[in-house]
Every structure is written in C-alpha cells, then in structure tokens.
Symmetry: C2
Subunit: 279 residues, 2 copies
Amino acid sequence: MIIDKLIVKIQEMGNPTVVGLDPQPDFIPEGLSITEFNKGIIDAIFDIVPAVKPQIAFYERFGAPGIEAYFETIKMAKDKGMLVIGDVKRGDIASTAAAYADAHIGHAEHADFITINPYLGGDSVSPFLDNCRKFDKGIFVLVKTSNPGSADFQDLYVGDKYFYEIVGEKVAIWGEELIGEHGYSAVAAVVGATHPRILTKLRWYLPSVFFLVPGYGAQGGTAADICHAFDKDGSGAIINNSRGIIAAYKNEKYAGLDFAAAARAAAIQMRDEIKEVLS
Amino acid sequence: MIIDKLIVKIQEMGNPTVVGLDPQPDFIPEGLSITEFNKGIIDAIFDIVPAVKPQIAFYERFGAPGIEAYFETIKMAKDKGMLVIGDVKRGDIASTAAAYADAHIGHAEHADFITINPYLGGDSVSPFLDNCRKFDKGIFVLVKTSNPGSADFQDLYVGDKYFYEIVGEKVAIWGEELIGEHGYSAVAAVVGATHPRILTKLRWYLPSVFFLVPGYGAQGGTAADICHAFDKDGSGAIINNSRGIIAAYKNEKYAGLDFAAAARAAAIQMRDEIKEVLS
C-alpha cells in the first residue's frame, strides 16, 4: 500500500521530510522555466529526501502550460524514485469529486497522494477513497491547517470537542479499510506545525492517521514543535518545507551555493535537526 | 460592480438562472469536443440566460488541454455577453490563495466570479477579496452545500448557532466593503436548493449576501424550494442547473431536439417555472 511505501522510504533515508515544490516566480533564478527549476531541485535532493509536494496553485496560475509543468514535475520526481504528494486541496459534491479524483489520482502516473478539503462532508470524500483503493493512492485530508486563520472555523468548540477533532475522527473512520502493514492508513491528515499542542493531542487521539505537517520554517514551526507529530517509534508523520529548501539560495547562510546545492544543504540541515529532536 | 451587473442582467432577462457547463463525457454527443459542445449550448441560450458556471473539475480531468477548454469556454460565454461563474472551490493559506486568485480572477478575461471553500478561514479568503477589488470580480463562498454529506460538518451545532450560520456571518463581514448599488455584496454565498428551510433562514439572516443556489433539478431541489432564496423583490439569488439543461436532449420530453435546442427549451421551462413561483 502506498502509505507503507512512504513509511519505508522515510525509514530508509532516516528523513521524515517532504520538499514543497512551490515555484513562486521570485524563487526561480532568472532564465529558468518552472520545470527546469524543479528538475534542479529534484536532482539535488532525490537521494536524501523521500518525497516532494508540488502546490498546484503555483502551476495553475500559468494556465494550461502551468498544468503541463505540474504533471511533468510529478513525472520527474517519480522517475527519480521519489514519492509525490499533489497539494491540490480539492473537494466538491460526489459527481464532481469523482472528476477531481480522476484528474489527480486516477492514473499510475499521477501523484501518489493528494490533499483534500473535507468541508463538503463524507460523500464528497468517497470518490477519492474509491480511487485510493483502485489505484493504490492516498489522501491527506485537511484537519488543522498551519495558518492563523485556521482558528476561525477549525477551532470552533462543538459540544465537547473542537471542530478539527470531529474532522480528525471522520478521517480515521474513512481510512479504516485502508490501513497498511505499518498501522497507518492511506487516508491521512494535514495538521500544521504551528500548533504543537494540537499535534500532540491528535497524535494520541488518531493512532492510525498519518500526518502531513506543513508550517515548518518560514511559517514559524520549529523542530521542537513538530516532534509531537511522531509516534513513539519516530514514525507517523512527514514534515513539509517549501521555501526554506527551494529558496535556500537566497539565504545568507548558503551564500555562494547555486539554488540546487543550497536546497541540498538546507534539506540535509532540516533532516539533521529533526533527527536530533527525535533521538 | 460585478454583482450589480449580474443583478441587472437577471432583471433584464427576467431569469435568475445560471447554466452549469459540466461537460461530463456521457453528456456530450459523439464526435464533439468539450469546446464545441459548450459553444452549442452558449449559442442556444445566451439571449435568455444571464450566466454560465463551468465546473472546472470536468475540464481539469483532461489535463492541460482541459484547462485550455475551460478558459476557452469562459471566453466564448463572455463574447456572447454572458456572465461567468468559475466553479473552482479553491481555498488555501494566504500565499497560495493569492496564486489561486491570480489564476482564476486575476485578469479581465478570467471568470467574473469564482466559488471559494472557506475551511481555512479569513486569512485564506483575503487574497480573493484583494482581487475582487482590483479587477472587479466576485466570489461565492461555500456556506451550505447541496449534497447530503453537507450535514457532516456544516450542520454541526456550535454554541447557539449552526456551523453554516457562523460561516454565513463571516461571509457577510468579508463582503461589507464590496456592497454594490443594489444592496448586495460581490462577496456572495453558495446555499443549496435542497435545504429550503435553511435558505429561508439565511435569506433573512444575511440580507447583503447574494446566493448561488445549486441542487435544482437532478439533485432534487424544486421551484417551490428555491423561491426561499429570493428577497421580497425577487432578487438576491441565482439558481444553477447543469445536467437538467445541458443534457436535456437525453430526456424523453425533448425527444427530436438536438442538444442545443433541447437546452434552450429546458432553460425556457426553468425560467418560466421560477417566474411562476416568484409571482
């Protein structure tokens, strides 16, 4: 099952991180296309980082050619043996969700995982579950996002639980039939690094739910924060970093390195920081 | 302001409906491309229907060429004087939402309105509001969707209010600075036809929030249901119908008509049904 492949790859590399391929125009050195930039990053990190997470908004912005670059990026990463999380945050009524599922996890060449927005409820998630089963794919459902505004709705207190806990419970239920041999389901969750106490609580509360943790680095999450996302064996989560890796070359610390070498150096540093807090 | 243009166009045509351009493969007559099919529909209805709503999932499914067809469809509809609601249901943290806003309401040639998923909270909506101001665009924020699963989260009871009421209140606040001369804001809401009591309540509760009402026809919403979406002057809402119009030619009732003629006949019938309940 795809979630097992991800867990094994993380273990083999000793590195529970994913590099966000968010090609914002000011991250890309003059003269390079999105695809060339991503190729440089992928070639520089594929042997030390298990996965990449292209954020489709930064491709979609360029219309049809951007979408081509998105799928080309997925292909390049897979060709190098990396796992791919397509950060698409789609969600719609069932007939439409089925079209989104076919668009993004409907084919071997698509991403291995995508992110999903649960606002429309269980029947809107079902078509994605169908494709997880059919094509050995996985989904990360938004439970508690990393941004400050996530408090507006996700932190509402409903009866005796927070809204994000209710969503988290549903994610666990949706994933019951897709639990792999490592005890985690291919139906996983997004929980931001910026809420360490929530991470701690949800890790305990949702033992079969693997976490994708955004918000490390630029958004303020530290290695000490994200250690709460992991179980006692140091598994159960993957930490995303986007601009901290792909735009590392703009950081004084990596002066003199080109964007690819700086990305590699920053990825190694992040891996080692997390290793340290987990040991 | 774009919301005023929509309201005036609805008044002029005496028709508060929008035709959903959801080109599911089994809706399209053999041998036609998505764009040819949509052109046939648009040419058949542009003089009696104020707006179309392409659902991007059904385009995205075909990758980059699908996205081209999506934007080509927007262009065809605008060239015929129709308003366009891009049903994209995007939502993400602010920096990413800004990219989505630029992708979909960042240019005169883009859709006039798009749909937005509010799950990530206020800061995730701000970039869309910025583009509404800059480019005279509008957004429809998901408040209460038409699908049965919408009950899972949207109907949770929080303190003394339903979750969808709390989201609705936020929509009204986000839209305060974008209220047009007809009293409605360019920051509007999606409320499903399948919940007539909720429509009634929200219409009263959110007097400045214009409604996009999906779920009429195939999903079970009737003219008697959707009349609750309108204010006392018969304004304040636009009702969507997708397959009931674009796939009308598959209905026995329209036997002998080609897809375009059947779409026109079905659109006229829907207009007249709504006229009757509103009079």
